[in-house]
Symmetry: C2
Subunit: 481 residues, 2 copies
């Protein structure tokens, strides 16, 4: 009968929709696909990298904000072009339809529009989510950190844009990642160049994404994509090929400003004039040695409207293609994004850069691993040890006194730990000092103070212990490495 | 016909399943229900609070880890009792069934089991998610931070447990939140007490959650819940009422160890002996003044197996019931949770505390708001200003030089900003120093250095500028407030 058939269909449909509650699922102990835990060692590295980056942001007067990890789905809709399919949606559990944030830029624009903020310089370091095919080997995950610095406000041409370049240079230098170059280009120039070559305006964005692949693919492949997949006439592609293989500095801008094919296109001239100004400011800010004006730089995202940036590590990538890191920072100007969230489409011009923090971690972790460097994961200064049994109460009192003085202190959580085990722990954990108590020391009102690396021990009166520890920590900080 | 009907049904079903792509939805600019953005001002407060808390964790030798924001749904299943309905699920987009983490403890246990870690002292500060009915007024959100410190490992009785109490005391004192008390109790004692009173074992957990409400509700109401909702005989409830109104210190432990009703129950004696030891260690660690042994403390979560803690702010909550903050830290021992993730049920005993960071923020924000204190959201030390037009290039060069020296510097992003506007910005943003350049200064090779608060200006040769700035910043740091 019909009712039975309908019920069967309904059951079938709800199954297709992923209702797995009836299945008996074997339980596997893992993190979700494309995600990972971070160990104390990895976190120690991350913390020190974040500290250096934040120091640069703060040197440039940036504030920080935070936004929820998920947004109303509508906030994200229509901002990422083809990549929208990579957005994680939350299950509809009755209520709003939500999605995990895909980047920090769209939530930032939503924040500005919602709070009617017209100027701010902010950084934001937080996790974003993409249902991409994770390539763990290449350091691509579904959950990863972004680290963004943006300047919003109506200002004069290229002044905040140039500061973003300076910020990228300061960060990459402070992280000591080896030689790098910051590529610059301009969306108006790209559009003007496409127009000059004869690309129909409706194809600008799709040809732009093809150009974007030039950092990974040779021109022949990109040309093939333009002609065969995107239906561009061969001679138009060749004209594009002529331009996108150019890179240089101010002299290239001057040369292109003499190119009659470009100078007849208004946006091309506008883009070139802007590049000229940007390169001038870069010189004033001391970043001219690291920048290169590169016409092949396109950047995939739809929302860029002006300058675009990309920083690339150079170093040993040629010899060792497999571990090539490539782009480690990128960004640009996006003057229309905030307006998409405003009822009256009021614009707030923005420019910013995103530091490719996950790639930076991968590079640094690999370096430390290669150097077999051990990273300390705690900051303990003093370990309180006992030489005999039944001294737990004395250890605890000593810990209390040292914590009260602000020292970073730990002890064994065993009642009667072996002295050797305690001292071994100090050596393994890189703890600089150990205070050792025994019956005789307690009776004399002294403790033994041991320098863990040298294994030197001195007897110190208990009331002078704090001073003696401070003296040695101070020497350690200033005297070694 | 039948096919048409089936298609219609299918469409209807997919609608019920929340596929809203066909609906025209009016777009509202907001964050999801129960979530919020954090402004630069709020973030500055959060940062300073986190710093103080992390300093305490590090003083006790804790490492930090991080886990993904979502877990396989199976990892969370069966860990939260009734509260499981509050878990956020992700949409099934083909692949694993995922849920947002509900707390940091279950992911921590999963991490230990998965990596076969048998001892670690770690802290974790991160966001968790609960589809609760948000009570914004009471500071309850659907997305909020947790801030956990846990010690995992097989150690001797109550030693790490006592250190957790010390950590809570150090944190609450360093945050200067006013008077507080740390309540202590023991799950074994609670169970033993329930047994002694005649509660059937299968009702222990549900009676425990009723007792847990005693911090918010009077005994009469809790008794009513026990008798009317949970079917406990009235005389059994009254016996419980006798105990749960007791609180004290070691003398109360001694008194209860003389109570023949309790001493015949093994777990009660075990719990009391443990409490006695804990209170002794608390005295050694200097936390005895803040702790109280409180038999009404129950804590809702199922997984506690030993000591349980809860810190409560006292202060003005009596006079001003509406803004009463109540519990601001809590935790306990959970020896069986890690074993739930291990194929061979290998246990890793754990004890830890969670700092109620959101409540702490609410208290501090309210205090600052009441005092009309302005929180600086940037750390800019020097503002580079120009007194006339057309000096942008000079400003930029000066900024470069000061950034190169490591100063925190900003300038206007306008080509020709008005001097008054620039100085006003310095005063509003609390920037201590302004460097002012004009035509005449440039010719003389000097700059004007202005102290923003006093408005004093001195002329400084350009090559001495760095030193003069350092001198004044140093004085500002050490000389004021």
């Amino acid at each position: 009968n019909e009712v039975a058939k309908l019920l069967e269909l309904k059951a079938q449909l709800s199954c297709e929709n992923g209702d797995a509650s009836n299945e008996v699922q074997k339980f596997i102990l893992k993190t979700p696909k494309g995600t990972r835990d971070f160990s104390p060692q990895q976190m120690a590295i991350r913390e020190s990298v974040f500290q250096k980056i934040v120091a640069v942001f703060k040197r440039h007067g940036a504030e920080t904000i935070d936004t929820p990890i998920f947004e109303l789905k509508d906030v994200l809709t229509g901002k990422y072009g083809e990549d929208s399919k990579l957005i994680y949606d939350l299950k509809d559990q009755g209520g709003e339809i939500l999605s995990l944030r895909y980047d920090l830029t769209v939530p930032f624009a939503r924040y500005l529009a919602m709070n009617k903020i017209t100027n701010i310089k902010r950084y934001h370091i937080a996790k974003v989510y993409r249902r991409d095919n994770p390539s763990i080997a290449r350091g691509r995950y579904r959950e990863f950190y972004q680290c963004d610095f943006d300047i919003a406000g109506t200002y004069d041409l290229m002044i905040p844009d140039a500061e973003c370049v300076r910020v990228v240079q300061e960060i990459l230098e402070s992280l000591d990642l080896g030689p790098f170059v910051i590529k610059l280009n301009h969306r108006l120039l790209l559009d003007g160049m496409f127009e000059a070559c004869g690309v129909p305006p409706e194809n600008f964005r799709s040809i732009c994404s093809a150009v974007d692949k030039l950092d990974k693919s040779p021109w022949e492949e990109v040309r093939k994509e333009m002609v065969e997949e995107k239906g561009l006439p061969g001679d138009v592609a060749d004209k594009i090929g002529h331009y996108v293989r150019m890179s240089g500095k101010t002299e290239l801008v001057e040369k292109l400003l003499d190119d009659p094919n470009l100078t007849k296109i208004r946006s091309a001239v506008e883009g070139l004039e802007a590049m000229k100004l940007l390169l001038h400011y870069c010189e004033l800010l001391g970043v001219n040695k690291k920048v290169v004006f590169d016409l092949s730089l396109a950047r995939g995202l739809d929302y860029y409207t002006g300058v675009i940036y990309e920083a690339v590590l150079q170093g040993d990538s040629q010899e060792d293609g497999a571990t090539s890191v490539g782009s480690i920072a990128g960004g640009g100007r996006y003057d229309n994004l905030v307006g998409m969230f405003d009822a009256k489409h009021k614009q707030v011009p923005c420019v910013g850069v995103s530091i490719g923090i996950e790639r930076i971690f991968a590079v640094i972790e690999a370096k430390l691993f290669a150097a077999q460097n051990k990273v300390r994961t705690t900051e303990i200064e003093v370990f309180v040890a006992s030489a005999q049994k039944n001294l737990l109460d004395h250890r605890m009192k000593l810990c209390k006194e040292l914590w009260d003085e602000g020292f970073k202190v730990e002890q064994s959580y065993k009642k009667n730990p072996k002295l050797l085990a305690q001292l071994q722990h100090c050596e393994e954990a890189g703890i600089p000092l150990a205070v050792i108590i025994g019956e005789s020391e307690i009776q004399k009102g002294v403790v033994k103070l041991r320098e863990v690396t040298t294994r030197n021990e001195v007897e110190v009166p208990k009331d002078r212990l704090g001073d003696e520890i401070r003296k040695r920590l101070h020497f350690n900080m200033n005297g070694s490495t």
